[in-house]
């Protein structure tokens, strides 16, 4: 459920958990794309292997249903704002995790291409945040254990509520991690998380309630729709793959969160070497091969010493005069480059627009 700050249905000010290209770095974008692409490949193979071909039109039509339902708003009482259905949990309940993930991913692709909601390279992040967490964590580890294979109305409501809250919390946390890891936004981790998580907790409650009421409505009319997937999952479930995917998600989360608290003190080997030789690392024979390979490693290493950004090294002490001279030089050269950059930037922008206009006029001119 994505809240709109304005009650108008055509509101433009939507606060969404969609990542955008402008906020992520290539390394984060490519990493998340790799994870999402692997998930798409695994789910596609799984869908092809175990489902009958009835599922294929079902996935497409339910994807169109979620796409349409997301554009129909409802008012949230006591808040003055409106929201709309997210749909991730409903798809997981109706289709199972693998088909639901593909359906969610396809809806996000359409939103990215037609509405630029997110971006081409942020699509990997969005598919991961809005697909992996609801389908492979919230659904199998929260919804199914609570709802069981034959859910009653009460258990289904509690299960939908809990899974929607947890799924959205994880999705929002994914956005925080990706934004912070990219370093484009200056928002620090803790304030950003403190801003996003409570908001999406409230969103999760409403999404859970809406999901529960819809599932309950459908259950009363067609219990086979709701129960069919649960019974099939109970007999054909393969916990190993769920565990593997969960381990992957936890690994990424651990790497993104726990690494912040990683100690910079030397590990056991480095400590031992320092005790023996006085340095943390042993300097080996500097042969041509060593130097070449070290150069290659330095060039290709995207995360040297596990830092995306290199930590600032304390400057060597300088005299006041030397510092003033250095600052003046830096200021002078910065001023020069800044003015050239601004002048050149305005010129290149004008040039780009001019080239576009000329080409457009040439295309519109009648041929001889």
């Amino acid at each position: 459920m994505l809240p709109h700050p304005y009650p108008d249905e055509t509101a433009k000010g939507a606060f969404a958990v969609h990542m955008a290209d402008a906020l992520i770095s290539p390394s984060v974008g490519c990493t998340m794309w790799a994870a999402s692409a692997c998930a798409i490949a695994i789910c596609s193979r799984r869908v092809r292997e175990e489902m009958d071909d009835r599922q294929i039109p079902l996935m497409g039509v339910l994807g169109a249903f979620v796409f349409s339902a997301q554009m129909i708003n409802f008012t949230i009482p006591a808040t003055g704002s409106s929201g709309h259905l997210g749909g991730g949990m409903i798809l997981s309940i109706l289709l199972g995790p693998y088909a639901a993930f593909l359906t969610i991913a396809s809806v996000l692709v359409v939103q990215a291409l037609f509405f630029a909601d997110g971006g081409l390279l942020a699509l990997g992040c969005n598919i991961f945040n809005l697909g992996i967490f609801p389908a492979f964590i919230a659904y199998p580890f929260v919804y199914r254990p609570i709802a069981g294979s034959k859910p009653t109305r009460g258990r289904s409501t509690i299960a939908a509520l809990a899974s929607a809250i947890i799924g959205l919390q994880m999705g929002a946390f994914g956005v925080v991690l990706e934004t912070t890891a990219s370093g484009v936004s200056a928002l620090p981790f803790y304030p950003f998380a403190a801003l996003m998580q409570p908001i999406h907790f409230g969103i999760g409650i409403v999404e859970g309630l809406v999901t529960a009421t819809i599932v309950s409505f459908v259950y009363n009319a067609r219990p086979d729709i709701v129960c069919g997937r649960q019974a099939q999952a109970a007999t054909h479930g393969t916990p190993l793959k769920n565990v593997l995917l969960t381990v992957l998600a936890i690994a990424i989360l651990t790497g993104g969160v726990v690494s912040w608290f990683a100690s910079e003190k030397p590990d056991g080997l480095e400590w031992s070497i320092k005790r023996i030789t006085g340095t943390r690392e042993i300097v080996g024979n500097n042969t041509r091969l060593h130097a070449f390979l070290a150069g290659v490693q330095k060039y290709v290493a995207a995360l040297p010493d596990y830092f995306i950004k290199k930590p600032a090294h304390p400057a060597a002490p300088q005299s006041a005069a030397a510092r003033a001279k250095e600052n003046a030089q830096k200021t002078g050269s910065k001023l020069g480059t800044s003015v050239a950059g601004i002048v050149g930037g305005a010129l290149t922008l004008t040039l780009a627009l001019f080239i576009g206009l000329v080409l457009k006029k040439r295309s519109a001119a009648p041929s001889a």
Binding site: E9, F15, G29, R48, P57, A186, A352
Partner: protein, 270 residues
């Protein structure tokens, strides 16, 4: 997200633009998708405070729009109504990063404002590229190109099915939503109590429709795979499009063309 009628109209408008004819439209979809991805990756690779180096990249959408006869105001209007999440997050930068990095006369511009404008420029470049890609290629051609480039056939089929039935489901959803609003007399009555049963009915009808579609497809010999006609051809024009733009992006990434041009102009004037 826009209203349901507006969203369907936007999709149809972009689809209609993709049916036009131009040198860009005639290129193979794979070349256009690859160039768009390389462009977005290059734009995203710039540093947080890089602004002048990003401006020359507007040449790509400008040339694509001009050569394909896309209406530029249409693309700009679509971008104006995009999700403001990016701007909300970017607005924190000027508040948090106040180190002065540039002086314009006596006015100091902080790193926060530089990064804010950098984010805005990146957003327009990448979002505009996505819209231009759909406008010159079409969603169906993009899906076929993705399948040819290795995307699993099940996922490509899912995208095509979704696109086919968005219009059908959106019409149903629009009728139901309009009926609900006409009975609501303003904002009252548009809460979850009326929303959930309506969406539940839509879901039940969607499920029944899917069952009918499946029976119709099986009756026509559908076996799970789509047999797309092999009409795409990746030839010399596509190779030149791909290599030419990639080389230009690489050059503009390596050299700050704005600074080069500015230095040249200022040097010739002094």
């Amino acid at each position: 997200m826009p209203s349901i009628a507006a969203a369907v109209l936007e999709i149809k408008q972009l689809d209609e633009l993709a049916r036009c004819d131009s040198p860009i439209h005639r290129l193979d979809a794979r070349a256009k998708v690859l160039v768009a991805i390389i462009f977005c990756g290059t734009v995203m690779s710039f540093g947080t405070h890089d602004l002048s180096a990003l401006l020359p990249f507007f040449i790509f959408p400008a040339v694509m729009i001009a050569r394909s006869n896309l209406p530029p105001l249409f693309i700009l209007k679509k971008m104006a109504f995009l999700c403001p999440f990016v701007f909300i997050v970017a607005l924190f930068n000027p508040a948090l990063d106040r180190t002065i990095v540039v002086h314009l006369g006596s006015v100091g511009i902080s790193g926060g404002w530089m990064s804010f404008f950098s984010i805005v420029v990146r957003f327009f470049l990448t979002a505009g590229t996505a819209l231009v890609l759909v406008g010159v290629t079409g969603f169906v051609a993009i899906c076929q190109a993705l399948e040819q480039m290795g995307v699993p056939q099940v996922f490509a089929a899912q995208l095509l099915f979704l696109y086919r039935y968005i219009f059908v489901l959106a019409e149903e959803g629009k009728r139901m939503s309009s009926a609900r609003e006409l009975r609501a007399y303003g904002s009252a009555g548009l809460g979850i109590a009326s929303f959930s049963p309506m969406i539940g009915y839509l879901l039940l009808r969607t499920w029944s429709r899917a069952e009918r579609i499946h029976m119709a497809m099986r009756a026509r010999g559908f076996d799970g795979a789509f047999q797309a006609p092999a009409t795409s051809h990746f030839g010399k024009a596509e190779m030149m499009h791909l290599i030419g733009w990639t080389m230009l992006f690489a050059f503009m990434r390596a050299e700050n063309m704005s600074r080069l041009l500015g230095t040249l102009i200022l040097g010739s004037l002094s």
